[in-house]
């Protein structure tokens, strides 16, 4: 399997919710590309400075917002979904944090809502991540979507990252996910 194809599989698994199988897939495939490293963001260090949106060499950044369902509080008043100071808790555009409409939510049962990120629309601006970490429990976080990343020799975001959050990681752990211990 080509590395790019392998990564595409991984990315699809993540966005499709196949997180449980991801560790195994990465583990079993890692040997094919053993020793190689990839760029990735450490969510614990990321300060959501906004540069991930603007500094990537891709026209739309390879950095995307990921959502850890196991960490999420499924809150109605979600700090990552709604703008600060919003009055009405409904899905009208003027209330929403995401500038590209990448986050949707679905009622589960009172008082819970499930949140989903449309990766094609996300530009990695990190606004939702900031909102979720300052007024929620940090289930939204930024990651370089490896199937979109060109693996530049020198990641142009890493060069300007204010917190040194972007570093090379082994292919076997190409994502730093919050759902996984």
């Amino acid at each position: 399997m080509e590395r790019r194809e392998f990564l595409r599989t991984c990315g699809t698994l993540i966005t499709g919710g196949g997180l449980a199988s991801l560790g195994g897939v990465l583990g079993s495939k890692a040997s094919a590309v053993e020793g190689e490293t990839m760029w990735q963001i450490d969510p614990e260090r990321c300060l959501q400075c906004g540069r991930c949106e603007t500094e990537c060499v891709m026209r739309v950044s390879a950095v995307k917002c990921f959502h850890a369902n196991q960490v999420c509080g499924y809150c109605d008043l979600c700090g990552g979904y709604y703008r600060e100071g919003v009055k009405e808790l409904n899905t009208a555009a003027e209330n929403l944090m995401c500038p590209t409409g990448a986050i949707t939510r679905r009622f589960v049962e009172e008082p819970y809502f499930e949140y989903t990120i449309d990766e094609d629309l996300c530009n990695g601006c990190g606004k939702c991540v900031k909102g979720c970490s300052s007024f929620g429990n940090g289930s939204l976080f930024l990651q370089i979507q490896q199937e979109r990343c060109l693996q530049c020799n020198e990641c142009s975001i890493a060069k300007v990252c204010v917190s040194g959050a972007i570093q090379r990681v082994p292919v076997g752990t190409a994502y730093k996910l919050k759902d996984h211990a």
Binding site: V86, E88, L89, N90, T91, T104, E110, F113
Partner: protein, 480 residues
Amino acid sequence: MSPRTVRLITLATAVVWMVVIVVWYLYNPSANLTSFEPGADMRPEGTERKSDEVRIGEFFMAHEDVAMPPAALSDSWAGFRGPNRTGIVTHTIPISLMEGDFQTMWTIETGEGHAAPAIWRGRVYVLDYDERLSSDALRCLSLTTGEELWRRWYRVPMKRNHGFSRTIPCVSPDGQVVTIGPEGHVMACDAMTGKLLWTIDMKRRYGSEVPFWYAGQCPLVSGDELVLAPAGKDTLMVGIDVLTGITRWWAPNVAGLKMSHSSVMPMTLGGTRTYVYAGVGGVCGVAADGDARGQVLWTAKGWQPSVIAPSPMQIDNRRVLLVAGYGAGGALLEVNHGGIGWTATISEQYKAEQGLSSEQQTPILYGGDMILTILPKNGGGMRERICIYNPSDLHHTVWNSASDERFGLGPYVVVDGRLFALKESGELYVYQLERGGMTLLRHQTVLPDGADAWGPMAYADGMLLLRDATRIICLKISEG
């Protein structure tokens, strides 16, 4: 140019323009835009809400599979400072003072905060804050296992400020449990089933201003009456039927007091049962019984700390001890009822380093001649130590704990003649109270790596409940 060429050019230009106009007409520039309108999340009709709307007690969950506590557990610590709000409990099961540590029966995780539990008929009530749900949550636990029997909660988004939770619930003799949330939301539930009885939003109903660091007032239930001090625009204090939520009396806020972190304390002063409240701006006494019920009997404005966490403590039939933190120190209030009616005067006041004081906990009067306190951090050389004073001299200690026995803002309680004091780092000290002093009996780390153990302790049926910022533990301190 020939006329034919001109005609051709004109025709071609007209055709081009017609095509442009048709394309312009047919082109929909917003075809790729998605409109975001209310209702896209499939929220059921009628459940729409505003972000600041709080529906007190709206959610409930019972754990049917959890065993009920044994009916034999009949003791209670029904609210702030236990029976009679004294911080003292007597006639209990003998305390185990054998060698070996007290046994930890159970530990539960809580949201970050300082809300302490109340105990009633084998059930533990704690008004926790669930950060994941941005909610105040009244949790009812089994005293024997710590397992949750039910919880009732409501969404009230807040920012962390020394954690979230604060106050101790109060349970009436007939089994209604009342809570006051950090934002001044009052909730009454059936203590057995968790059924919601009634609610009050003190900010909305009375115009109360919730103080910085959130509301710290613990509800007071006297018989079948709940006494609240909203210290709002017009209402200083109210008496409410605890079963129905109907207001029985209210005292006007003529003195313009504001809500403090202090709680209403019942006292008999000048022979009259009085509800005493230390608000920001002054201390007041409201008649608790008779024809004058709800009448403001007296107000003293001579002592006005900007932050008051401890509650007033009665010394005798006419004297009340007032203490506060942040350097405010202490004061003695004298209340008299004579020919000219009621008078309330501050007979002395002093800074923290000059005498009996406390930052957060309310001192305990033991045996009529010993006032137990932990001095605040600006209490001079005795800072953060347990000190004992005689009520006749609030400036000189009659006893103090050793220099390594400093407790920070930790709580303390007297169980059967022994003082249980908790360092804010989670170390429990037990002292034997004697005339004029104490002897250290034992100490034990009960909350390893503890932090900010500030919430008061609760005791019933041989079990002592203690907490730090993120957990509650149950210690078996009785024999057998």
